[in-house]
Subunit: 345 residues, 2 copies
């Protein structure tokens, strides 16, 4: 079988000749080719211009030789399409105007028609597929409902999730209505992405780890089960479920669904895989900051991750979080080479 299918085969836990590798935020500010485009366009312009988004999507394929491309976009464009105003401020991260904290606010959000309202995403997917010419598969993605809910409620990223949890705990019906609406929107969005041509999906639950396991189970898990069961019912593409900082309740993350569970670096890969069970694949989990180490130290850590995966079918090498913007580009190039070399069977 050809190398270009390596990533997809690993998602389905088939035997592969080496471990496939891609990196969260592999298209990003650490890369000079990206910076050259970013100098002339705002981040949101780049997301919304299909030609630019497709070009940036391909940069890491060309520069790094990763085994999958992931669409260049942002999880919050979906929320914008639901009726909120989205802005990115340099160094401050995203801002959403008029955070939603009442039943009326939830009611006003609309479930977008992804094909129409996020047309530029679908265009970018089609263009990226064309430019990839089958070299490697294209991954589409969405934020998970809880992570999106936290932005919708806080209006920005948060450390304490003060308003999110206040709504969850004191207005559980309104919170649940918001989660249902977001879940429906995410399902429609990722289905449209599959129609447009993505060959795998990743669901990012970046903030799930702020919750007690009991609260995840009660307020999040039912919606996640619906999300994954509806995606899996189509069954066309493998789905990666990345729940950040959820190392203490991976059993529940697994229950939610996904063909591959993505884990951060706060838990050793072998322990994480044992906890979720070998009936799913595992993705991860080098600390992105390890890329600030000397090469021999990076290699030691890559070997450690690969040793813990023990050549078991279903491992996809990745970082435990996105590439940090200050990472030396050469180290990222070296990392991908290392994984390919060290994992060859």
């Amino acid at each position: 079988m050809s190398e270009r299918q390596l990533f997809i085969r690993a998602c389905w836990r088939e035997e592969v000749e080496r471990t496939p590798v891609w990196l969260m935020r592999q298209a990003g500010r650490y890369m000079r080719a990206y910076q050259r485009i970013r100098e002339r366009h705002s981040f949101l312009e780049m997301c919304k211009n299909p030609r630019i988004a497709a070009e940036v999507t391909l940069q890491p394929v060309e520069r790094l030789g990763v085994d999958a491309a992931i669409l260049f976009s942002d999880i919050l464009v979906l929320v914008e399409a639901m009726g909120m105003r989205l802005e990115f401020h340099e160094g401050l991260g995203p801002r959403l105007s008029e955070p939603v904290r009442t039943p009326e606010g939830v009611h006003r959000l609309r479930v977008p028609d992804a094909e129409r309202d996020l047309h530029y995403v679908m265009e970018a997917i089609k263009l990226a597929r064309k430019k990839l010419r089958g070299r490697v598969p294209l991954i589409g993605f969405s934020g998970a409902p809880f992570t999106l809910a936290s932005y919708v409620i806080e209006g920005r990223s948060s450390r304490s999730f003060r308003f999110t949890k206040e709504m969850m705990f004191s207005q559980p019906e309104a919170f649940c209505a918001l989660m249902e609406k977001l879940t429906t929107a995410v399902i429609d969005y990722v289905n449209a992405q599959v129609d447009a041509g993505v060959q795998a999906l990743q669901i990012f639950d970046s903030w799930a780890g702020c919750l007690a396991p009991q609260d995840y189970e009660q307020y999040v898990l039912p919606h996640m089960r619906r999300l994954f069961s509806e995606i899996e019912a189509r069954g066309e593409v493998p789905v990666i479920h990345f729940a950040n900082q959820a190392g203490t309740f991976l059993d529940k993350v697994r229950l939610a669904g996904g063909d591959v569970i993505g884990v951060d670096w706060r838990i050793p890969l072998d322990e994480a895989w044992r906890r979720v069970g070998y009936e799913v694949g595992i993705q991860g989990n080098l600390d992105p900051l390890a890329l600030f180490a000397p090469l021999h130290e990076i290699e030691r850590r890559v070997r450690d991750v690969l040793d813990r995966a023990a050549s078991r079918p279903g491992h996809i090498f990745n970082l435990g979080h996105g590439v940090h913007k200050d990472t030396p580009e050469e180290k990222v190039v070296a990392l991908v080479k290392m994984v390919k070399r060290l994992s060859a069977r």
Copy 2:
């Protein structure tokens, strides 16, 4: 035995008639009496004025009826005494001038003479003990070496710990020298606090959870073992070891030391206690944001924590992190009453 010893007896895992309770950041902005003082003084002025620090230390004892007072101070005053300039900016958190990122920078830091250089802390302890008149014990505290190191290196709080990890991974000798110096400083500091009159200690490792378990073991654990073994050699007061977000490597936290292990809410209390073993006490672990819920919901959650502790000797009720500044004061008062009522044997 008198109620005033309840907390200390629980730290030593003796049988008690009900579960003792205190709250991290129980003296703080959520409380009106605190705000009245804060209006007239900066945060750092409050820490450095022994009369004010002692007064604020006692506020939660009087308002909430908690079973222990904790000295009002900040973990960063120790770092200031080592030669860095410390400032607090409204809404931005602490700033340390000239972050330390080189061997020379580490060399320039001095191990303070805590009795002399942190005289105001010792004065505040003596005053607080006097004002407490034996009603409840007084807890002293320090940041753990890694948490202090992260501030020293970043110069502020961080999400990615980019500079901390870069130094750890690429200048391991300099990082180790910094950890050694900080460990020595912390040992001297908490010993001086015991001499001044504190009856228990808590070591806050607020940022340990940013590390992979393997890195905690290699770069942090040896220093923590020295810290706890030197404190325990004196053996006068019980020591609580709170490692925030370390739910995936509690076994290693336990190896570091402490008579009581403090845990956040990301792991159920029963599971955490099972992992650290019943030869140590456990402190925690209600999500501080649960205090934004209605009273009946807070009660359900308090019962859940107590049920998981199962009246086993050695449980100290606390939040899994500090009280959030926006918390309704009345809810905090109600929480302490609830714990006392629901845990009565």
